[in-house]
Symmetry: D2
Subunit: 342 residues, 4 copies
Amino acid sequence: MSGSVRVGVVGTGMIGQDHIRRITQVLSGADVTAVTDLSADLAQQVAAGLKDATVHATGQDVIGNENVDAVLVTSWGPTHEEYVLAGIAAGKPVFCEKPLATTQRACRNIIDAEVAAGRRLVQVGFMRRYDDAYRGLKNVIEAGTIGAPLMYYSGHRNPGVPDSYTTDMAIVDTAVHDFDVARWLLAEEFTGVQVLAPRRNRHGGDLQDPLLMILETTSGVLVSVETSVNIRYGYDIRGEVVGEDGTAALADRGQVVLRRGGTASGAVPQDWRERFIDAYDSELQDWINAVSAGAGATGPSSWDGYAAQVVCDAAVDALHSGERVAVDLIEKPAIYAGGQHP
Amino acid sequence: MSGSVRVGVVGTGMIGQDHIRRITQVLSGADVTAVTDLSADLAQQVAAGLKDATVHATGQDVIGNENVDAVLVTSWGPTHEEYVLAGIAAGKPVFCEKPLATTQRACRNIIDAEVAAGRRLVQVGFMRRYDDAYRGLKNVIEAGTIGAPLMYYSGHRNPGVPDSYTTDMAIVDTAVHDFDVARWLLAEEFTGVQVLAPRRNRHGGDLQDPLLMILETTSGVLVSVETSVNIRYGYDIRGEVVGEDGTAALADRGQVVLRRGGTASGAVPQDWRERFIDAYDSELQDWINAVSAGAGATGPSSWDGYAAQVVCDAAVDALHSGERVAVDLIEKPAIYAGGQHP
Amino acid sequence: MSGSVRVGVVGTGMIGQDHIRRITQVLSGADVTAVTDLSADLAQQVAAGLKDATVHATGQDVIGNENVDAVLVTSWGPTHEEYVLAGIAAGKPVFCEKPLATTQRACRNIIDAEVAAGRRLVQVGFMRRYDDAYRGLKNVIEAGTIGAPLMYYSGHRNPGVPDSYTTDMAIVDTAVHDFDVARWLLAEEFTGVQVLAPRRNRHGGDLQDPLLMILETTSGVLVSVETSVNIRYGYDIRGEVVGEDGTAALADRGQVVLRRGGTASGAVPQDWRERFIDAYDSELQDWINAVSAGAGATGPSSWDGYAAQVVCDAAVDALHSGERVAVDLIEKPAIYAGGQHP
Amino acid sequence: MSGSVRVGVVGTGMIGQDHIRRITQVLSGADVTAVTDLSADLAQQVAAGLKDATVHATGQDVIGNENVDAVLVTSWGPTHEEYVLAGIAAGKPVFCEKPLATTQRACRNIIDAEVAAGRRLVQVGFMRRYDDAYRGLKNVIEAGTIGAPLMYYSGHRNPGVPDSYTTDMAIVDTAVHDFDVARWLLAEEFTGVQVLAPRRNRHGGDLQDPLLMILETTSGVLVSVETSVNIRYGYDIRGEVVGEDGTAALADRGQVVLRRGGTASGAVPQDWRERFIDAYDSELQDWINAVSAGAGATGPSSWDGYAAQVVCDAAVDALHSGERVAVDLIEKPAIYAGGQHP
Ligand SMILES: [Mg+2]
Ligand SMILES: [Mg+2]
Ligand SMILES: [Mg+2]
Ligand SMILES: [Mg+2]
């Protein structure tokens, strides 16, 4: 592809606008040329801040537009399937924010379409794989420095959540990132999950918060995922791999050590934007580069989106039943082989 | 009590000798005046290194000796019950290395004897409660700094174990310390336990190592205990309390930051002596002080020894059955009320 | 300015190429449209990798070219004065790699030209001011969190240097960054400097390495600068501000804590690219944004380049004389007032 | 020596009482048998809390008493010379709190007396040499892990000082510990010192606080000593050795990592008792053990007390003159050879 990648954006809500800002003000090699949103007013308003971006009535119009080389799907989750399938049908690369789709059936439809197309065209927005610290963890594992991984602790802590947040969302919106990054770090699929409910955090009202989920992988690695979404102190993403010879853990993030008032302290991030801003930049630049090089997609795949969905479904079942629930995946199509994306 | 506390030692093996060294060369206010061991030769040899210590044929002889004010039981675990009961019968304070006894029945016999005596005479060797870092954790919890505790992660890592070590020992010899310190930190009893077996560490041969145990307390706190006893990198005791408003964790122990060869590093302890040497000193000095003040015992109690035994039994059942096992305790006698020892 | 900023590059050596890569592959809002180099072959070769960039015989040709909106000076230091002056004369914004020029006289010529032009057009490449950790330090100081700064320790450590490196270069190439960042953090000028020569590092041969420089500022803050340029262990930039109520220091950079072989460790950066890659990106994006907004220049100024030169000259004198040398600056022109760039 | 060491205490003020508490309640192998103080009432009162300790009118009486095996000098500094000399004359081991004496002449008198006695009898209270973290630093240096030391940064920070504290005391009472520990770590003497006076801490009133002292050793190592005695945040003892291949630094002391309110923090000690309590215990136990073994003295020597005095005198001169002042020592008597005490 010569010249900048021309990106069409389906959905100009908060996350869509953030990606648009990224493409136009931060990253290199792409322009936003077409937008749409359920709210035509919002789409119009967003386009007004852009150079030469056209506004369209529907996602299909954006995807079909001749000035659009690649599609960014940042609409409401239940609509993802339709737009991703349309992108594949048009032979255009698609970056789809997580979730890939909201049901296993929908994810499998996307996989089927990609398999039929004969190559990967879809990247899912699991940005943690682009985070330097997680990449450091993965390097340690792959170098064999700590021997084979045997356990992985993943902590997902959030200072607070809106009233609309439900216990199921602690799994499908929050822990889904922990599930994906564990699959990627360990290069394995999950086989089962149980969900335990500790004493509740008083800040969460009726919410079952925190949750402690225990998952197993094919080789028997145990993965422990904690979601604490009202923990006030910060947005803190913890991770520790326990291997045969040692462990590797995400370090604290403070860049400055402040000694004052009896303590030596470092800052904890306050929200996901702060914590993962570089990873968001990096995942989208990687996608632009892949599209620009004609590669279709190289980052987290539809398979990753599907596998995450299956684990989430099992975890929700486990939460409600109190039992261990098996994680059963279909056979992995060959186009996803090798599979350690990115 | 005027003058030094005169201590009789029952069992002069490795741990007995270490406590004798402590009393005679490190601590203040006590002397060793009588010893015995299954091996008369060993007892004789140990006594030869002491000033005015007599050697006796049996533990009963030591306990009954008029030159003995208080008894240190460091014999083989199955004999603890007999000597602790003898100490109580003689009205003499007893410091008993863990385990208090090897069966729930034996622990209850000791409790019954103490209750009959009308006051505490027994301290159990759960030395972690005297460790400065654990005390720091407890202070944070009790100050309410992080709100109510909701979860507690306890990691017990050992570089290696002898061939004689069995998977059950990972519970009764190793995790027992995590169980006790969790009970103490949280000021609660456990109600159930399940034991999960991850992929095995290749260094452990047939041993099921590591183990991941999940316990619940009365108020619903979830406690996650990891034993990794062949992890090579060091003797590393991890602990993190997750509260409603924040967390508190044991810090790394390195006293020197070495910057060399591309890394900034601190040392990890290499064995339990190194890690807990101050705690061992502190627990025994505390006992000497209590005995000297006529207090009988103020540290970890027979009740703590009993409760640990019940949790261990349940965990062993859970390991073998693969099921959650309930933890059922008898009613707590009044003499153990208040119960946050020390 | 509508559309991308068209940048002309004078000097396509290593640092020039790195900035070109940055503009074309990483950052947003600029293109490289013209290049030149002392080596016409090299210029040609670099241009071949670009889209629509013309090659020119001289820096003056690049600067005068109608397709060039702004100039990047990355040529050999002694030529900086000529090209920066040409840029100012053409009314075009100039980003000049440090040093601004190699003599105080040359720096003052640039200041005079900018003053005559009536506004700032020049940004100097002191990238540390764009580093997140240094910005964190500055935020702490400005918030008054540690009271007034009283001392500042600045450590500049390098694993090794080429044979061509001289002791003077430890001042003019290495410590110059420490001088600038100290001026910026403290928002003050220096008034004097002495240079002390400790025992030599055996890895440095005849080089006087390390050096310890002690500087004073107008208000009396003492600044201690260490250069250790053969210290093998890593590229480690240390900084600690000692205030009236506390201190603030740059934290260690490790993103992963590795526990293995008896230590808990984090990685130390291995070179300046790794350590400051984000700062380089950020300074140039900031310049592009300023140019795009018609602001001329908002980052480190010609004044900053001049002040650094005066301090370096004084430090070199102090090194050779063994005496404290005063730092004397001309009066600061009004266009540099406010002066905390960025 | 069979039995407990019988210690006579000259001076029962705060530090004397603390050592008495240590001997009677914490350490092993010694008893306090005789005391004296300028205030007979205070001496009487302290003795009342002891078992079988006699009260005497003068230090000479204590030293000469037949129930005293060894002497602890904790009286007012200017009286140290007299009592230490009396101890040596009586052939009894002496532990003397720092300073050994308050003039170089007095220190030399003590050295002369010890040399005449033919063996060491005096230990000076430089307790930092018994601190685990400092010992860790020394081990790194001696193992050659970081190559030859080239610089040493020593920071001595105190939350506050009483009104009676003078700028000279920042040298003779505070920095003297940094001087001694640097001599010990580097196994070298100092050759010169300069004292720089930064901007003053507003909390210190007229006090020149902080101070920055730069010292050189025989081999050319530069030692930088900061005293900040009103820095509020804590009692923080910093130390970093810069070697040819790396650095070694005292680590932060926090035993618990608290994550709360946007930060991850550890506690900083609040006073010297908290920071060095273990070192105080360890130095005195070491002395008791040496005395008990008939060794006279093995810890910090009269030579160390003398050398510290010479450096302090030079530093006070340097403070008042603003010039570098040479440090000139007499020749070191053979009985102090080997000299890395302890
Ligand atoms: Mg762009
Ligand atoms: Mg004793
Ligand atoms: Mg660009
Ligand atoms: Mg004693």
